[in-house]
């Protein structure tokens, strides 16, 4: 590596200047603060000084003309940031979940897995959470896949206004869950009798009174199933986009060959298209499941913290910030992480493996 080192004086001067500048700035900012127009920019300035120093280091690295070292060097700030702010904090959350911190003053006393044991034994609320998440995930994924596939097949028929329909189906995905949750809460208003409102009122006006439903105040556990409706409405367009891309990538030749062999359209879909869409189904399932396992904003907007619609995200938020139970909140968070990791990690590993095989 040293053999390739070529000293380039101007670059070396610049590198030394940058490193010197960065270190001087870091030293100053360590003892004083930077206040511009009343706002404290010290932490931002510290980051910038660090990056300036690092730029100087990188210029020196460039002079070694070694691609591997340079690429690692360029990635190093991002890797460091992710390591600290993502994995470091995950580790810290795990550490807190193994303590008994309750209240404003941290209490890191080691209690082992006590928080987790308490969550699963004699905690009816957490059992409700697990049941609700399971039901929500299953129904949400099935609904999105079915609707998404249906829309994709419809759009595959090469209609005239295909681009318009595609956009319309995709629009709901751009809305935040809180906004759609609030609107769907109005639509799915469970009041009956004098206070009919929302979709119930529409059914009444259309003389379809037998359809009037209590929505998510229906007897559990099925009340939770109604919360899936806004979620499917929002994300079936996304699934449709995934499937449409997959269907379009299947060459027309295969279909032509099948038609020549006498297969009906239905048989073409069933025996050729759908099996070829399996990898897309898998990625759609992973993405939708990781969304539904962490669902929070939609349920909070719909249910207003009704305990029958409780999910782990809501439980974690209320137990951490309303009750001050930081250790229990951390334990719930870690459990949510594990449930998502169980799904995502094998998928990512197998994707990387299959890509390197190619």
């Amino acid at each position: 590596m040293l053999r390739k080192f070529t000293l380039h004086i101007p670059h070396m001067i610049m590198a030394i200047a940058l490193m010197f500048l960065g270190m001087v700035a870091l030293f100053i900012l360590n003892t004083a603060r930077l206040v511009i127009a009343g706002k404290d920019f010290t932490s931002l300035a510290l980051i910038l000084s660090g990056l300036i120093t690092y730029c100087g280091v990188l210029i020196v690295v460039i002079m070694f003309h070694n691609e591997k070292v340079l690429s690692v060097g360029l990635l190093l700030p991002s890797i460091a940031a992710v390591a600290v702010f993502v994995y470091g904090f995950i580790g810290w959350s795990i550490r807190i979940s193994l303590s008994r911190w309750q209240g404003l003053q941290p209490d890191y006393t080691w209690v082992g897995l006590k928080q987790y044991v308490l969550l699963f034994t004699d905690n009816p609320r957490f059992i409700i959470d697990i049941r609700n998440t399971g039901m929500f995930t299953v129904l949400f994924i099935l609904g999105c896949l079915a609707l998404g596939l249906g829309f994709a097949i419809l759009l595959d028929q090469r209609l005239k206004g295909e681009a318009i329909f595609r956009s319309i189906f995709l629009f709901p995905m751009s809305i935040s869950f809180i906004a759609s949750g609030v609107v769907w809460a109005w639509l799915m208003n469970p009041s009956t009798g004098d206070h009919l409102a929302g979709i119930n009122l529409m059914f009444h006006l259309l003389h379809l009174d037998f359809l009037i439903s209590n929505w998510f105040t229906s007897p559990q556990p099925w009340g939770m199933a109604y919360t899936v409706i806004p979620a499917i409405w929002q994300l079936s367009g996304f699934t449709m986009a995934l499937y449409l891309g997959g269907i379009r990538s299947i060459s027309e030749d295969m279909r032509e060959a099948a038609r020549v062999d006498g297969a009906s359209e239905f048989q073409i879909y069933r025996y050729i298209i759908l099996p070829l869409l399996q990898p897309i189904t898998l990625s759609a399932v992973i993405i939708l499941a990781h969304m539904s396992l962490k669902i929070f904003d939609l349920i909070v907007a719909l249910g207003n913290q009704d305990i029958r619609l409780d999910v782990p995200g809501i439980y974690m938020w209320t137990t951490t910030f309303a009750a001050g139970n930081y250790a229990q909140g951390a334990a719930i968070g870690v459990l949510m992480l594990i449930s998502v990791a169980v799904l995502v990690v094998p998928y990512v590993v197998s994707t990387i493996r299959s890509e390197t095989e190619l």
């Binding site: 500048l21 030293f27 511009i36 127009a37 004699d122 009956t192 009704d306 209320t318």
Partner: protein
């Protein structure tokens, strides 16, 4: 080197030197006017350079007050108090750091983050009682106020039964600004007249009499007791049922450490039975309402007869649109103590605290002095619809309901509200809240509910 490269080098050196020069221009923490631009001060590598005091006294120093008063009424009250403060203490200026939402839960979350970061505001709003003591005193974030109470004589103008509730080990920790009453039952006189129900003078003495009246109301097809959603309204009703059933002394006994009233005992069991019966007289769509206002509106509209809600409902009934229903007292709405709670004032109070480690301690003391003063409380409370914590405010500023409440405040037995953070800290209250919500999903499981309440007491560290 080509001229292009030497030009490039020169340019880089110029940029580098410019950055070095500007890096020297760091200022120090200035508590002067927030509009000061970055000044170039000769950088000493030692401790931060402080600006000379001459510049500081020319500009008012900021006092940051943190609250969740952003709604109609409360925001006006806060603005009135701030205006009075800025007038009386021109050397300070209030920075209003209010955070909206969640009835205070969002604000408390933001506050917890700031306290963990060591950046406390100069004072913050907290519910007087265990919410303050169990959270901020236990967390070593606030200082006791013994000297303040002694030097201002504030302790002498507060009711005697209040001081122990806002103190720990005899040291008071908060300055109560307003007092709200929880055990008020609002009713619609017209609905009662149609059902031929009369309320005994002073209110129903027990829940059984109330249930008899409810049967008459139910016979006319109206809802007897309107109830709001799961949030705090259910707990509000539950605490009033408990106090009305077991009385003030036994209620206090639930919250001593250790409790002198048994959570597994007959008093709690009878209260739960009364609560179950009361729930049977409530509107079936209670859990679908958005907040407490629709339940109170049912009384105003004549769909329900009674609604037990704190006296912030008075503003909702009486104020002009769009924030109120513009009803006339005794005509469109009326009030009586909740059944079984005559002579008892179930209070909740917003108060301010004395933090540790804030930027402007003198400003905090000035704010607390104003908040405790007669003028400050008289400016704030009429606009918010509450009554003064002091017993010597002038009744003329207040509405008819509030005048009655002020008399009761001075004479009744004062007990603390559970729903609003007086008798139990946040952790205990959250455990009771979960038990209550689970109970509401099936009100026949009374034994399970009582067991869950006893378990909540244990997990809060109060019961054995």
């Amino acid at each position: 080197m080509s001229s292009k490269k030497s030009g490039f080098t020169a340019f880089c050196l110029l940029v580098a030197s410019m950055l070095v020069v500007s890096a020297c221009g760091v200022t120090t923490p200035s508590i002067a006017s927030p509009q000061a631009p970055a000044t170039v001060v000769p950088a000493t590598m030692a401790a931060p350079v402080l600006l000379p005091t001459a510049t500081m006294t020319a500009l008012p120093t900021p006092v940051e007050i943190f609250s969740w008063w952003v709604g109609p009424g409360e925001a006006d009250g806060l603005a009135a108090m701030v205006a009075l403060f800025n007038h009386e203490y021109p050397q300070y200026t209030i920075v209003n750091a209010a955070v909206a939402g969640g009835g205070g839960t969002n604000a408390q979350a933001v506050l917890a983050t700031r306290l963990a970061a060591g950046d406390p505001p100069d004072s913050w709003q907290a519910h007087a009682g265990q919410e303050t003591i169990g959270t901020y005193v236990a967390g070593n974030e606030v200082k006791p106020l013994d000297d303040f109470f002694a030097s201002t004589g504030f302790g002498k103008v507060l009711p005697a039964t209040l001081l122990p509730l806002i103190s720990k080990d005899g040291h008071p920790y908060s300055v109560p600004v307003d007092i709200h009453r929880s055990n008020v039952m609002w009713y619609n006189p017209k609905v009662l007249a149609i059902a031929k129900v009369t309320i005994p003078v002073g209110g129903f003495t027990n829940w059984n009499d109330f249930f008899k009246a409810c049967d008459k109301i139910k016979a006319t097809g109206k809802v007897c007791l309107s109830l709001g959603p799961e949030g705090f309204t259910a707990m509000h009703l539950f605490e009033n049922v408990m106090i009305g059933t077991m009385g003030a002394a036994k209620w206090d006994g639930l919250w001593t450490r250790p409790p002198t009233t048994n959570w597994n005992g007959p008093d709690v069991r009878t209260s739960i039975a009364n609560f179950q019966k009361a729930l049977s007289y409530t509107n079936s769509d209670a859990l679908t309402l958005s907040d407490w206002q629709p339940a109170s509106k049912m009384v105003a509209d004549g769909d329900a007869a009674f609604n037990i809600m704190g006296d912030w409902a008075e503003g909702y009934f009486a104020n002009a649109a769009p924030n109120g229903l513009a009803l006339k007292p005794h005509v469109g709405f009326d009030w009586t103590p909740a059944p079984g709670t005559q002579g008892i004032f179930v209070f909740l109070s917003d108060s301010f605290v004395l933090p540790i480690g804030n930027k402007n301690p003198d400003g905090t003391m000035a704010w607390l002095a104003l908040a405790a003063s007669k003028a400050g409380q008289e400016a704030f409370n009429p606009l918010k619809g509450s009554i003064c914590a002091r017993t010597d405010c002038n009744p003329a500023f207040f509405s008819e309901y509030s005048q009655g409440a002020m008399q009761d405040w001075a004479t009744d037995i004062v007990v603390g509200s559970l729903t609003h953070g007086v008798v139990a800290n946040n952790n205990w209250k959250a455990a009771i809240d979960t038990a209550l919500k689970l109970y509401l999903t099936d009100p026949t499981r009374a034994d399970q509910f009582q067991g869950a309440l006893a378990a909540a007491c244990k997990s809060a560290g109060s019961c054995q």
